[in-house]
């Protein structure tokens, strides 16, 4: 056919895993010189579609067309040869090789069979200049920031392919300035006629650089729209299939009825990890922890839970001095902890959803009071349902679930232990809008049920919305405790920025 003007097109693409339909007759078209955002909750089928477009998966139905010609992409190399390049969220280059080697790996300029290092570095310098990078091509890639590595990855993909560029959550680990820099490069590449697919979780970024947006939900194409014609609310509604109300950044200014004191940390700290801090936590309150990455937020959570033992200070639980030197001590007192790095410290990828949910309860019961299979099914079913975990079966390995559902599994794991105190470290990072809403809802529900919670989050608006009090961390030190009307983004940002100037305590 041709004539559609699409540089890259998927027509009626179907992908089936076992008896799960991952993509159901999805159409997707991408023109040269446009940025096309691909949106959907985790598990909507974005990654599957990308893997088909880049030759990593073969479709079970439908076809892929490049410049209007049907092609069969059996390997990522074929896709690359046809001009389709991809940059993933985690930079997958070689950090211990030079920038130039990373740019040219696999097709180095040669001189009688030997790598022509000088030419390679000269060419690299020219390429990097076009991306506004003034770095030494001979320097080790790993020595540069993630943002620079990301740009090198983009440069490599564009140099190798040059027609279509697929960016899979490229901004996930970048700060605001770095994101802006990346967007300039995207706009520049667009002006040079590249067709770009942009995948992200951040709606404002979609609106900042994209021309079109395509929304997938549960493996189906929901709609493709020109961005000028839609609002943020429209897009969210397309993604969720329902209306959700965004709460503004208003704190719980009313003096919440605070329950009795549950925990009292005095001069609690650990050398080289977090300075001694004082914190009193009541039943039925959420303590929000704000602070930049590396400010000691996670370290604070870890010593509270005994994951690292505190080496000074003391903790009283309901008035009684207690020692918490191991997670098992903390759990015995009704603590629970959802760590920041879900994959490395949270989930048991090869174990089933059921086992992942009951494991902490079983740990509490000990080696010899094993839950029977039926009891496990009942517990996992109950909490899975309460948290709206979307899994085909409770017996499927948890690693097959999306990030949001995995986070719900870990939260369910602690709820099953009937906790009194939960520590959540970045519970909403990197998960889709629906799971995000579910987790925020759960935090509010648990607070109303009388649990004490400590929630660490980089999303200031979010912390403001559910916290009864907020503590601010800076340079491994608790620098401010905010309550009442001081719970506002402005005050928090100020406290993070400079703690010496009149921080209310």
């Amino acid at each position: 056919m041709g004539g559609t003007g699409y540089a890259l097109e998927a027509r009626g693409v179907v992908k089936i895993f076992g008896n799960h339909v991952a993509l159901d007759a999805v159409d997707f078209g991408l023109r040269a010189g446009e940025v096309h955002a691909l949106l959907g909750e985790n598990g909507a089928g974005k990654s599957t579609l990308i893997k088909i477009l880049t030759g990593a998966y073969q479709p079970d139905g439908g076809e892929v067309l490049v410049d209007g010609q049907p092609v069969s992409l059996d390997t990522p190399q074929q896709a690359q040869a046809l001009g389709i390049g991809t940059v993933y969220q985690e930079v997958n280059l070689l950090p211990n090789r030079s920038v130039a080697e990373n740019l040219f790996l696999g097709h180095q300029p040669t001189w009688f069979g030997l790598t022509d290092r000088r030419k390679m570095e000269r060419d690299s310098r020219a390429i990097l200049k076009r991306y506004g990078l003034d770095i030494d091509p001979a320097s080790e890639l790993g020595a540069h920031s993630v943002a620079v590595q990301q740009i090198v990855a983009i440069a490599r993909a564009v140099e190798l392919s040059g027609k279509v560029l697929i960016l899979d959550e490229p901004t996930a680990s970048l700060d605001r300035n770095e994101v802006e820099r990346l967007f300039e490069i995207i706009r520049d590449l667009k002006a040079h006629g590249l067709a770009i697919v942009f995948i992200t979780h951040f709606l404002e970024q979609v609106f900042a650089v994209s021309d079109y947006v395509t929304v997938l939900r549960n493996g189906r194409l929901i709609d493709t729209r020109k961005l000028d014609d839609v609002t943020r609310t429209d897009v969210v509604r397309l993604m969720l299939g329902k209306d959700i109300a965004f709460s503004g950044a208003t704190g719980l200014a009313d003096a919440r009825p605070t329950g009795e004191v549950l925990l009292d940390f005095t001069n609690f700290g650990r050398k080289r990890s977090v300075h001694p801090f004082n914190l009193t936590i009541h039943k039925g309150e959420v303590i929000g922890v704000a602070g930049l990455l590396g400010s000691g937020r996670t370290e604070m959570a870890r010593i509270m839970f005994g994951a690292d033992a505190a080496d000074e200070g003391e903790v009283k639980i309901a008035g009684k001095p207690t020692s918490i030197s191991r997670p098992t001590d903390a759990i015995a007192h009704g603590f629970g902890f959802c760590p920041e790095d879900r994959k490395a410290e949270g989930i048991f990828g090869d174990l089933s959803v059921r086992e992942n949910i009951i494991i902490a309860l079983q740990g509490k019961l000990g080696w010899f009071s094993a839950l029977t299979r039926d009891e496990q099914m009942e517990i996992a079913g109950k909490f899975g349902e309460a948290m709206d975990i979307r899994a085909a079966s409770l017996d499927m390995p948890v690693k097959l679930l999306s990030g949001g559902n995995q986070q719900k599994v870990i939260l369910s794991r602690w709820l099953a232990t009937d906790p009194a105190f939960l520590i959540l470290d970045e519970p909403t990072r990197g998960i889709d809008v629906g799971a995000h809403a579910e987790i925020v809802r759960t935090i509010n529900r648990l607070r109303d049920e009388g649990l004490a919670l400590v929630v660490i989050s980089s999303e200031i608006d979010e912390v403001v919305a559910y916290s009864s009090r907020i503590v601010v961390m800076r340079d491994r030190e608790l620098v401010a405790e905010l309550s009442g009307e001081n719970i506002s983004p402005g005050v928090i940002v100020q406290a993070i920025a400079n703690h010496r100037e009149g921080t209310p305590t």
């Binding site: 839970f305 994951a307 997670p327 098992t328 759990i331 902890f337 760590p339 490395a344 410290e345 949270g346 989930i347 048991f348 990828g349 090869d350 174990l351 086992e355 494991i359 902490a360 079983q362 740990g363 509490k364 019961l365 000990g366 080696w367 010899f368 009071s369 094993a370 839950l371 299979r373 039926d374 099914m377 079966s393 017996d395 794991r413």
Partner: protein
């Protein structure tokens, strides 16, 4: 329903492989399945497989837990020699046989706990940690026996190695008993789940409140204990403790048995019964080569071919080419 479930459980690759090896043996040696009753016990090639395979099967019962935690125990062969040396030296010195047996088992347990200490508390990589005792264990055994093969005629020790109970060789009876005990220990308690959890993600297991150190001490201790039992059987069989040769290279057979049994060296899911089936497959090949008149040198090559086959079957390529339907453990509908 239960019948069908039982059948579908039987239809796993390990049992099919065992049946395959036995059938090949039968073709090469038509009398393979002939079993006779003589002097109050059973005789025949199949019984021989069960008898000769028992030491490796017992090692595999201990090894499978270690491997499921992402570890490995290279010391079991040496621990066999130590246990045999302890028992033999004690009975020769005039101690009662039960004392000698209990002492040998305790020494095996201690060896295992030492490995567990190195791995769990000092955080040494299992392959290096157990290598220490693999090397030192032979030396210790030689010191105990003062360099001689200590022979004995104690009826209890000889009974453990060569006796019979209910017509079955004693070694087989012991192996079956250990299989049942250990399977119950890991599956009727939460220990099995915790072993798998630690093997899949030790950091997450610790944060979820599993005492991973204690658990590691337990699995290595159990492995040492199993090695001591195997050491007693081997010593009783030859009526002597040979510090140089008892259990030599058997750690590798035990690891192979576990891997054939479907437990990944990367830790996680494991099955004690299938590890025992793995040990039986190895022994069935050994016996088959012996009875069908091939020179025993073939053993090593056939074993290598088997390892190769298992690796191919477990490789990602194979799972892509052949869609293997794994029996999902489903709840009754």
């Amino acid at each position: 329903m239960t019948m069908r479930r039982a059948l579908s459980r039987m239809a796993n690759p390990q049992l099919l492989a065992l049946v395959g090896v036995l059938l090949i043996n039968w073709i090469l040696f038509p009398n393979f399945f002939r079993i006779t009753w003589q002097d109050g016990r059973l005789f025949g090639s199949v019984i021989d497989v069960l008898n000769r395979g028992a030491p490796v099967a017992i090692l595999a019962i201990g090894m499978v837990g270690v491997i499921a935690t992402k570890g490995v125990d290279l010391s079991v062969g040496a621990v066999m020699a130590v246990a045999g040396a302890v028992a033999a030296t004690l009975v020769v010195a005039g101690y009662p046989a039960p004392v000698a047996v209990v002492a040998a088992l305790l020494v095996g347990l201690l060896c295992g706990l030492w490995n567990g200490f190195l791995v769990a508390v000092l955080d040494i990589q299992p392959i290096v940690a157990t290598l220490v005792l693999m090397v030192a264990g032979r030396g210790i055994a030689q010191l105990i026996t003062e360099g001689f093969i200590v022979t004995f005629n104690d009826p209890l020790l000889v009974f453990i190695g060569t006796g019979s109970l209910l017509g079955l060789p004693m070694a087989t009876v012991i192996a079956i008993a250990m299989l049942v005990l250990v399977t119950l220990l890991v599956r009727k308690t939460a220990i099995g789940l915790f072993i798998e959890a630690v093997g899949v993600n030790r950091a997450a297991a610790t944060l979820a409140g599993i005492r991973s150190r204690m658990l590691l001490m337990l699995v290595y201790g159990l492995s040492g204990l199993c090695a001591a039992v195997a050491g007693l059987i081997v010593a009783g069989d030859i009526r002597g403790a040979d510090a140089n040769n008892a259990g030599l290279w058997l750690e590798l057979d035990a690891i192979l048995a576990v891997v054939i049994g479907g437990t990944s060296l990367l830790g996680g899911r494991f099955s004690v019964p299938l590890a025992v089936v793995g040990a039986l497959i190895i022994q069935a090949m050994n016996t088959g080569i012996l009875v069908s008149g091939f020179p025993p040198e073939f053993n090593l090559i056939v074993k290598a071919a088997l390892i190769f086959l298992v690796l191919i079957i477990q490789s990602p390529l194979a799972t892509r080419v052949v869609v293997v339907k794994r029996p999902v453990r489903e709840a009754g509908k």
